[in-house]
Amino acid sequence: MTQAAATSHLETSTGLDNRKLLMWLFLGSECLFFGSLIAAYLLYRDRGTGPPCPSDCAFDGVQYEGLFDIPFTSVSAFVLLMSSVSMVLALAAIQRGNVRGMQIWLFTTATLGLLFISGQAFEFTEFNHEGLSLSTNLFGTTFFVLTGFHGAHVTIGVLILLSLFTVSLQGRIQQKDSLNVELAGLYWHFVDIVWIVIFTLIYLIQP
């Protein structure tokens, strides 16, 4: 037995797995990270020195149309939400010993995640064509930093899911290893709840 395998079965004083405890601690700290970024966005979005703006605005008597495309972002939010459903179904499958089911749902989740990232890349490109960049104004800076970091988290999540999928194809994930899928799932669901907050506070609630 390898050292990693041996330590993964060590009993703990709490009766809980240390890896899961560490994941929750990490997610708690991530709340602070994204909370700060969202607060910074809300603080600076109205202090822009010029266009473009998230919603319709006026500078020097000229009206500018807002950048946000709510129908498009709503579809993205729906896609990420559904990826959370497929993720939890992957976990349910492996906990019942259904490896094939887990593989299908893991792949579905990764695909939906990629679809979300593609949507975000398209949105960033569109905004850039409209003249918004990281350094255009405070709205641009805080918006790209916030959604960029979220996109980076989704990308890491997709890589984790694809790694799990590849490992499972080699027969190295069985029912007894369901904690690995659960840990990936916790990270993925966290990324989803962050988008739930971003979608409401940044996109739907305009000043």
């Binding site: 809980l16 405890l21 709340c31 602070l32 909370g35 700060s36 729906f78 349910a92 989803d192 979608f199």
Partner: protein, 118 residues
């Protein structure tokens, strides 16, 4: 002393049992049907959010409505999909502590520096 020697001395089986709390937690998990039902509810709430956005209701009402719906979606994902409803309280404590700290920073920053939500 090696781990094997320690286990032998303490009378612990060579093949250690799974974490009791973990096993109990897994047994409480909902089934695929319940997850699908929750997913449907989440999708409907998202639809309602977008619908409210286009209804042209008063801004304050829009903000309150969207916040309530968003908090509902957030809670459903955390409680069911992340299993905090069924899991050990220590995990909840870790997350809630971080969340409350984040919410405090969020509120204090917006209140003192002058950001606005509404």
């Amino acid at each position: 002393m090696t781990l094997a020697e320690y286990r032998k001395r303490r009378g612990i089986d060579a093949a250690p049992p799974e974490h009791a709390a973990e096993r109990e937690h897994v047994e409480k998990h909902p089934g695929a049907l319940e997850y699908a039902q929750i997913g449907t509810i989440l999708a409907v709430i998202t639809g309602v959010e977008v619908g409210i956005y286009y209804m042209g209701v008063a801004h304050a009402l829009l903000v309150i409505g969207l916040m309530v719906l968003s908090a509902t979606k957030f809670s459903m994902v955390v409680l069911w999909f992340m299993h905090l409803k069924f899991d050990h309280r220590l995990f909840s404590s870790m997350f809630v502590l971080g969340f409350i700290l984040a919410l405090s920073i969020f509120t204090v920053v917006l209140a003192t520096v002058g950001g606005k939500l509404v």
